[in-house]
């Protein structure tokens, strides 16, 4: 995921979460996605900025979400090679954990159901992204053309 896409999605969901959606939902998905698909050096800057965006839009104390994102990302980077976070289930669990941590530290409640929804979304997204690409030949055969 590019950092710009991450920041744009952060802005969109910062507006949606709280007023339209539950206050925490997709933070875990965004952060895990950014760490998985971007270099750490770029990811950290994006996480700092994204966290500021979340806090500004949701009228929270600036820096708290950034701190959570950065600490979590740092731990992810450290364990990236040891734990299979690229696997959908692992990534989903990490997304759930991050969402729960942010919910508890920023809003004081666990918001378990939105966290589970976010984790499920992460799981399905990775399943979709990581599925093997169908070969060109087999596509023609399916269409009945040789």
């Amino acid at each position: 995921m590019k950092t710009r896409i991450f920041l744009l999605l952060s802005l969109i969901f910062a507006f949606l979460q709280g007023s339209f959606l539950p206050p925490v939902l997709l933070e875990g998905v965004l952060v895990v996605g950014l760490v998985l698909f971007t270099r750490p050096q770029k990811a950290f800057l994006g996480l700092l900025s994204g966290g500021i965006i979340f806090d500004l839009v949701q009228s929270q104390t600036l820096g708290i979400t950034s701190g959570i994102f950065l600490v979590f990302a740092f731990v992810l980077v450290l364990i990236k090679n040891d734990v299979s976070i690229q696997k959908p289930l692992g990534a989903a669990c990490l997304a759930i954990i991050l969402t729960i941590i942010r919910a508890k530290l920023v809003f004081g409640s666990l918001f378990l159901i939105p966290s589970l929804v976010g984790g499920t979304l992460m799981f399905l997204l990775l399943i979709f992204i990581l599925q093997p690409v169908v070969e060109r030949d087999s596509v023609f055969k399916l269409n009945g053309k040789s």
């Binding site: 507006f15 007023s19 339209f20 050096q41 950290f44 700092l48 500021i52 839009v57």
Partner: protein, 267 residues
């Protein structure tokens, strides 16, 4: 090379983390409030609009569940209301009883007497039915209060926690009495008040004793609590040649006017 790369990574992470901590420190002290105010000019209208959209989408759905909840809530409230009404009427009864007890305490009855409150539940002619929490014994005197002790009657029969009390006008009622002047309280005569069914008559009063209209008729204390007002003398009847005189008695207590009475359990 890999190690240098990792070190760079660590330093970068620490740098960004310290930056976020610094920003948090500044904002917690209010230094960055201008940033919040300036962004809220845009964010608050957008979030309000989104919230209104959410309410308008969810309100038809919530109306269904709300209707079910409201119905259940109404039923609960009605039940609770009925319970409270029952409690309230109980409290009112206690309040009345309490007032009577305080009235009783303020009278000049002997302090060593003991009383138990009872509630009048029905009136039938010359009897009243009372209900009490205490053990009811046949023959127990029953009084009420009105600037002093006023005789009501005696317990004639007991069924559970209800008792039938015969008033002084009942045909079974025969009460030894004394007659005192209403003006100075001096004792004039003694006799017996006999119930005649609907009214009471003072009898067996010697003609040598002075009985005047308006004199107070009180219990004499023979096997009954003494000095309890039964009524006032009305219409003295003297028969020539007879050693006795009689008089009608205006009883002080009418059954219909009673709500709380007291059993004299010790005198």
């Amino acid at each position: 090379m890999q190690g240098a790369k990792n070190n760079t990574l660590y330093y970068l992470a620490i740098f960004y983390l310290l930056s976020s901590i610094f920003i948090y420190f500044l904002d917690s002290r209010g230094t960055l409030n201008f940033l919040h105010r300036s962004t809220q000019v845009l964010t608050i209208p957008v979030r309000s609009w989104l919230y209104d959209g959410r309410v308008s989408i969810l309100s038809p759905l919530s109306a269904i569940t709300d209707a079910v909840d409201q119905h259940r809530r109404i039923q609960e409230l009605e039940y609770r209301n009925a319970e409270l009404y029952a409690q309230l009427s109980g409290f009112k009864a206690l309040e009345e009883e309490n007032a009577k007890m305080r009235h009783l305490l303020g009278t000049n009855l002997p302090p060593n007497w003991q009383f138990a409150p009872a509630r009048v539940v029905s009136v039938a002619g010359d009897t009243i039915d009372i209900f009490a929490d205490t053990t009811l014994i046949v023959g127990t005197p029953v009084v009420t209060t009105d600037n002093g002790g006023v005789w009501v009657g005696k317990v004639e029969s007991v069924v559970g926690r209800e008792a039938e009390v015969s008033l002084s006008t009942h045909t079974v009622s025969k009460i030894p009495v004394i007659v005192r002047s209403a003006e100075d309280g001096s004792r004039h005569a003694s006799g017996i008040v006999i119930g005649r069914g609907g009214y009471a008559r003072l009898e067996q009063v010697l003609t040598s004793e002075q009985v005047d209209e308006g004199d107070l008729v009180l219990t004499s204390g023979l096997s009954l609590p003494p000095e309890l007002l039964i009524g006032r003398v009305r219409n003295v009847i003297k028969t020539s040649g007879s050693p006795w005189q009689q008089a009608d008695v205006d009883v002080a207590v009418q059954g219909n006017n009673l709500d709380f009475v007291f059993l004299v359990t010790k005198f």
